[in-house]
Structures are given as C-alpha cells and as structure tokens.
Amino acid sequence: MKIAVPSQGNSLDSMMDTRFARAKYFIIYDTDKETFEVIDNEQNAAAGGGVGVKVGQDLANMGVNIAIAPHFGPNAEQVLKTANITMKSLSNITVKEAVDAVRQ
C-alpha cells in the first residue's frame, strides 16, 4: 500500500505541510517494502491554476492508495475520489506519525 503525505522537508521526521497540492515536498511511503520516495513539489507549489487536479492525477499515476492532508481542495478531492484514493485529514504531526496513524 502506498501512502502520500505532503511534507515541509525531505525526511520522515519532517513536519507535514499545511497545504496539499502546493506542499513543498511529497513523501510516498510504501508499506509493503517499508521504503519511501521523496518528490520535490516546488514546481507545483508555485504554479498557476489547476494544481490540485495535476497533483491528484500524479498521485493516481503513482498508484497511491491513501492521501493525507490537513484539508483537500475541491479539485484535488474530486480527482482523488475518482481515482479511488482514500483521503485522511491529519495535521501538525510528522510524516512518520501520519503514516503510522493510517497504516493499520
């Protein structure tokens, strides 16, 4: 199972970003392999309209099963829903804590 968490930094101990599509990084945690991948989201963080759509689609293409964020924008929400990605609302914790909270 793959879990996507928006992050302020590039490690599991980084705090979650307060934004979803415009987060600084994304950390994609693979619970089957216990590995993670860091995605630099700088380009999307400062892009024009439609970022929620684009990020939602990128996560779907990566085969993400669960996305975590403080809250999701309406466009991102619609894409994630269509892609059958489960949305969990969490905030003010580290990436690792977020992953642990939803992995069961």
Partner: protein
Amino acid sequence: MKIAIASGKGGTGKTTISTNLAYLLKENNYRVLLADCDVEEPNDDIFFNIEWKENIEPFILIPEVDPNKCTGCGECTKACQYHAIVNIGKKTIVFPELCHGCGLCTYACPEDAIREVKRPIGKISNGYTAENIRFFKGLLNIGETVTTSLITNLLKYIDENEKNYDFYLYDSPPGTSCPVIETTKNADYILLVTEPTPFGLNDLKMAVEMIRKLGKDFGVFVNKSTIGNDDLWNYCKAENIEILGQLPNSREIATSYSNGGLILKDFPAYRKEFLKIYSKIKV
C-alpha cells in the same frame, strides 16, 4: 471616434470622467455610446437613469465527455494546457472553471467522444440613459477568471451592431495587464486619469509605458489636483504629455459622487475642465 478612459491605479476617477464626458458630448448633440468595460466592478450605470433594453449572455465553450464513447486513452489530458480535463483509468472528468474554452481537447479526442457545451461567463446589458446616451455594461460572474473574454465579447458586439455613433467611450478596468489592453487596443485616443500622489504617479508611469507600447495617442486628466506634490506635473512636462484637464480635491464633489451624482449637473462651474477634453477630441 473611439476613446478609452483608463488608469494604472484604481479609484482615480475613471468612472467620473467617463460618465461626465458622455453627458457633455450628448449635450452637444453628438451621438454617444458609453460602454462600461470594467466588467469586474462596473459602476457607470449608477450615475444615469437607464432604461434597459436587452441582456445578452456571453459564454465560452467547454467540453462534455460522452462516457459511452470515451476509451480513457488520455489524449485530451495530454493536450490540455490548463489541467481542465483529466483522465483517470476509464473515467474522464472536466473542471469547467479551469477551462479556457480553446477547443483543443475536442480536436485531440480520437473517439469523437467530446462535444462542446456553453458555459455562461457573465452578462452584457444595453439600453439608453434618460439623456439618450446609448449604454452598454459588461458584468463578470463572481468566481470567473475570464475577464478579458467578456470584454472581447462586449466590444465585438458593439462593433458589429452599433455603427452609427460619433463617439464611443470605453470605461476601462484599472491596471496595465490583459483586460486593459483588450479595452484600449482598438481605441483612437486614450484618456488616462490619475492623481498627483506618489501612488498615482507610479501607476501613471506604467500606464504610459503600456500606451506607448501600443503606439496610441493619449492625454492625462488630473483628478484631486490639489493634493500630493509637484512630481506628477513635472513628469508630464518632462515627458511632453498633454494635460487635458483637472478637478480639485473636494469633499463636495466626493459627496455628490457617493450619491451617484454627475459633476456637470451638480457643479456647473467645472464644465470648463471637461470642455478642454472636448475641444481636444471633437471630430
């Protein structure tokens, strides 16, 4: 003759100048059309008693996907530059508010699964003021971002349907970016309204730069001329920019404006300031 009334800075008095100039020209028996192109916040109609005649609903064309024909190939998503159409698995969804209405997805679809439907973006109303000034107003729907499209629609409608006027006055949105260019690019003359404050001067400089890029003839009207400092006047002198008239900063004028009053009706003494513009632009 087409005259656009513009300003870099908002709130300098474009609406005041547009409405009073229209009134003055009409008084001098010209056939006048006034179009409020500040479609995000149009206010010219406040200053007139208007008998509305017609409402037109401008639209852009957005895609609608036929799920029975769509194979989920994703060609539309690849083509779209605005992330407005997204293919996920077998499903393709459209985000109407991100769509610019270019039509490329329809063309890119190999299955002929996309047809275009109308999405209204605002309203264009027209009528006549009590003085018989032909009046147009564009109004952008709240939440819409296609300001320029609505202005294009408004001016195109006027070009095609309203041919018999001596003067066309276009009250422009503030600023120097695309909606302003759209309003001013076909004008014969541009009247820039400003005030002699640091903000007014800074924004006037940008507006002048824009107009010079467009290669248009223009002049400046100084509103609230009694405030601020000499920098604006010195700038205009140094740049050889003609000042067509001025109005003092006055609580009485501001109060009359607040109630929707025209200066030419409430304070006839200022008529001469508008006559200067008139003598400059009359045919």
